[in-house]
Symmetry: C2
Subunit: 228 residues, 2 copies
């Protein structure tokens, strides 16, 4: 069996193409504010979903399912879940940290005309289990790879994406009719924005600072020597 392969040279990215990929990676932001009240055209949304769908998946199982949420009542119900989970989270912080936590804008569920819940069909038999006998969590990880594909494609399209994880998954299942065998992985707010922040919001508002990559690298064996 001879595979039709394209050689490296024919297949190489130009310098400007390579730079564009790094640009998307560097300028992607977790967007929680500034969404514009103008729905995405279906064609554009479908490009983003196709980008997510084409992510690597263990055994080529393609386990991700995309719930596109535009219905305002459904978004209201999810927003209620957020409010409760966030109030509960706030209780874990003392005094000034709590005040600062409560001042942060952490989601755009109602402002973004589209929300997207990406779930994983972990029992899916496609791929015949290949690659997930010893690490079954790779099914959910495949779905997360799709989230990141979508996020980068969206940045290139000028579309903001924010991941909301301050949600009780049990309540989320109820509202979105997600059955037991399906795992909710990511809840995203998606929409046009007129700007992207130059640095992450959590850094801008003083919650946390990024550390440089070299603090995260070790060689041959795990070590915390470089840890910040």
């Amino acid at each position: 069996m001879v595979e039709s392969l394209v050689t490296g040279e024919e297949n190489a990215f130009s310098d400007s193409e390579r730079a564009a990929v790094y640009r998307a990676i560097a300028e992607r932001r977790d967007v929680r504010r500034g969404f514009i009240d103008r729905p995405l055209p279906d064609e554009l949304l479908n490009r983003l979903l196709a980008a997510a769908h084409s992510a690597p998946s263990v055994g080529l199982m393609q386990p991700s399912r995309f719930i596109v949420i535009r219905n305002p009542a459904v978004r209201e119900a999810v927003h209620d879940i957020f409010k409760k989970a966030s109030a509960k989270a706030a209780e874990r912080y003392a005094d000034d940290q709590k005040e600062r936590y409560l001042s942060l804008k952490l989601q755009g569920i109602l402002e973004a005309p589209q929300n997207l819940c990406i779930v994983c069909d972990t029992n899916n038999e496609r791929g015949r289990g290949l690659g997930r006998h010893s690490m079954p969590e790779t099914a959910a990880y495949s779905t997360v790879c799709g989230v990141q594909n979508l996020w980068l494609a969206a940045r290139a399209e000028g579309i903001g994406v924010g991941w909301v994880s301050i949600l009780d998954p049990v309540r989320l299942r109820e509202v979105l009719h997600i059955p037991e065998h399906i795992l909710p992985v990511a809840y995203l707010c998606i929409g046009y924005v007129d700007k992207f922040a130059p640095i992450p919001d959590l850094e801008f508002f003083g919650w946390e600072r990024r550390v440089p990559p070299e603090t995260a690298v070790c060689h041959d064996f795990y070590s915390e020597d470089n840890k910040s």
Copy 2:
């Protein structure tokens, strides 16, 4: 507090930049064969690690740690783990499926001059737990977003990446000295290749076929109506 924001127009990707991002997403492959025995320069590898490190992370915790493995003895030990896990996986298939499984080339641990184990420091207190009280799995998911960043950057650089999940995580921890509080997320083989396959290997060799994205989409509530 006034944030220095860049407006949408100044910040927009050009058509060719946008196309480059989609190209990386479409032409990324899970590479298991064809690695060239030429180590990556440190500068290039560091660009890939920085791309992974700049992935979104819940609460800006940046939990990923990167174990760069070049030592042949370590790669041999990991390859042994793969062989055992793969033999065990093969036992789950009957007859012709088993034969087909055993004929697949599923990793390039020894051929790729660099292996990379990406782990997640799930107890990391950076970000003060923000965003992961109700969904603690988002720490590991943050690490997976980094895997996908690296994978796309690597494609743009002409570098092949393959994710090996046929490994016993307990044995992997032993070999790489990964302590209990650190979660092994992804084991990657990374190296120069002289070509990228036009379609996934598992599809080319008849193990599984991709389904179109529209089979994975539903609206407002979870539904399996479109399921392939």
